[in-house]
Subunit: 405 residues, 2 copies
């Protein structure tokens, strides 16, 4: 009764359970591989028995295929590699995986998706085929693309994937009319936000949020290292005391534009120097685990480990910040900012996903803060619907995640 399977799907079907396992393995690196993608790999011997598994755990550490081949050893000869992303063909911090696959005597490689990185972009697959290996492409490609949507977005657009998160009451308020905002949502929702941060490379607030809430902005240890905490401030009107200035737990980056007053820059630099001098002795040991410790952006980020760092952007705009964060290896960033910065991030295309936590409470007050400033829309037709990704309960609160449709 079913339509005849296409040659391609007939070829792919036997490998699907293994590819799902490789995708599970890949997901184990969540939040720690940036700027690299999440990758998982499985090695079967010539008889189809599992002989090796691996995943990419951290930038600078071995790629998934290499770990799986090392586990398989000589049993890989004549076998199959099932891998979620095309093996690389370039020398980065590690040698090309395609060469490692060929050297191990593998006969067949099953790949979920091509690597969008222009240094690879099909070159790895071509290298394998040139060496006489059978390559099957596109198995579970949609799942693999979803898993690496942040990496793919960053490679294609030059900006990290942005998630905008807010917690509001059922009547759309993020604070009482008197400004009180802690806590609208409950303990479960706050724990979920810590988990969300653990999947992000940076967490962004504006100067207003820093001044009002003195936030910590960490994943509470769910990610090691913690995401970079970014404050975007046009005026550099920043409090002399703030929890973000203690960078023993997580790095802090203060971004501003050319218009920031010189005296405020100097004041911040003095504050940062004082924070560096006051750094706790144990903190230095954490530097080695920083994900970009071997990456292109090492000097700045290592510096940020021992005091907050200042970054002048070409303009004090979300788009400029996103480009700077992409250059620093961020694949996914979280906007946890006030309404005006959030609206600017949306207007400049810096938000691809929304995460709204809605508490079953009424706060009221036309003057009370709301999630978003002006988006410049003149007609309801311009308000395009977002597509639901997830909807779930967090205690008595409600989480709705959406992305652009």
């Amino acid at each position: 009764m079913a339509a005849a399977a296409s040659p391609s799907s007939a070829l792919q079907a036997p490998w699907l359970p293994w590819m799902r396992r490789a995708l599970q393995l890949a997901a184990l690196g969540e939040g720690r591989t940036s700027p690299n993608p999440l990758v998982g790999a499985v090695v079967l011997d010539a008889a189809g028995q599992l002989v090796g598994e691996g995943f990419h755990a951290r930038a600078g550490e071995p790629h998934a295929e290499v770990g799986a081949l090392a586990q398989a050893g000589a049993r890989a000869r004549g076998g199959t590699v099932i891998v979620t992303l095309e093996p690389c063909c370039h020398h980065g911090r590690t040698p090309p995986c395609s060469e490692a696959v060929i050297a191990a005597g593998i006969s067949r490689v099953v790949v979920a998706m091509a690597d969008p990185d222009p240094r690879v972009a099909g070159g790895g697959i071509a290298r394998l085929r040139a060496a006489g290996l059978e390559v099957i492409e596109g198995l579970a490609e949609a799942e693999a693309l979803r898993l690496n949507r942040a990496f793919v977005h960053r490679v294609r657009s030059g900006r990290p994937l942005g998630i905008l998160k807010w917690a509001m009451s059922l009547d759309g308020r993020t604070a009482l009319p008197n400004g009180q905002s802690q806590w609208i949502s409950g303990a479960e929702a706050r724990a979920w936000v810590h988990q969300l941060r653990a999947g992000c490379d940076a967490v962004i607030v504006g100067g207003g949020t820093l001044r009002a809430d003195d936030p910590l902005l960490t994943s509470r240890g769910r990610r090691d290292p913690e995401p970079i905490r970014v404050v975007m401030s046009r005026t550099l009107d920043l409090p002399p005391q703030a929890r973000l200035w203690d960078t023993t737990m997580a790095p802090t980056l203060v971004a501003h534009g050319p218009e920031a007053p010189q005296e405020r820059r100097e004041a911040f630099d003095r504050l940062a120097a004082a924070a560096r001098d006051g750094v706790q002795p144990g903190a230095a040991g954490r530097e080695a685990t920083y994900p970009w410790a071997e990456g292109a952006c090492t000097p700045e980020l290592l510096a940020s480990q021992s005091g907050p760092q200042r970054l002048e952007l070409p303009s004090c705009e979300p788009a400029a910040l996103m480009e700077a964060l992409a250059a620093r290896g961020c694949n996914r960033v979280l906007w946890e900012c006030g309404p005006e910065l959030a609206a600017a991030a949306l207007r400049q295309g810096c938000v691809q996903e929304l995460a709204a936590v809605i508490a079953p409470k009424l706060l009221g007050g036309q003057a009370a803060r709301t999630p978003l400033g002006d988006l410049g829309q003149e007609s309801l037709d311009q308000a395009q619907p977002w597509r639901e990704l997830e909807r779930t309960n967090l205690g008595s609160d409600w989480l709705w995640r959406l992305n652009q449709s």
Copy 2:
């Protein structure tokens, strides 16, 4: 393994399937029995076979037990009546049901809940027991109370149960900054609102909503008669042309307080007289089906059928309006008003349920309209969580219904 059933539950258990059927029957009257409750009844013969079913379809028409007993006829003798509400013992528009049950030779009556109406309040059950009938009380009482929560609320508090409904964007806006608000939600959500109105006895807006939206506020024929459309206006600054002034489809009541200017009252009365004169000939035929045609409030409401009616309240406040609507036989009313009137209704305890339709769109704009004006809360502790009743999709929109916890 299970704990021994209590004598009471052992006594009740055989009747539970029949009580569920009676509750289903009761629900068939939804939206049409006010000021009366929803009631369903089943009659079994002496052998336990179903011989009659009935429900209360409309105020002034026979009560559920009477309909079911009529269907059963002589087969009711020695049988059992299963009824969702205590049979009445007073002469209202119909004779007391307890007498009809006794006259039919029934041996046993199973009742879900006592009638909170002070004219009954256990008197019906006492009358049955005095006549020698076995009475089993409290079977599926929670379901029965839920089904009649509006009736019970009105009897106990002297005010109809209030539902506050709004449609907003994911960022809590009920309009764009430029005021545009039609349509934030989609066709499915709008159809659901028509259904919601069909379950209500009145739909309330403020003068601002009338001026801005010129709404129709009907159930689009899902309820016959349509709910009373109520405009609450402090100033009586009302448009000379409005769809609400045509009362051939549904009655319209304009409520104001003592401060309403005399010249505006006169202007409205002229407008109402003109609307009456322009009434369509066919409209008179609808008066006979009005649910309070035989009730205490007949004169006013019949008048409203042929032109909008004006009502001066002791004060122009939601609480005063609710008392007036309870006196007019309303069990359940729907607040579809703007933020200031909604906030006043909440502050005055005139809202027991919330229905928020949330569209997956972002409208933005600090100046844009939001669901609620100031609630006078100074601390987040004062914002008590509401309890979820229902959460469902309406097309791509989302519906969240809650009540007071």
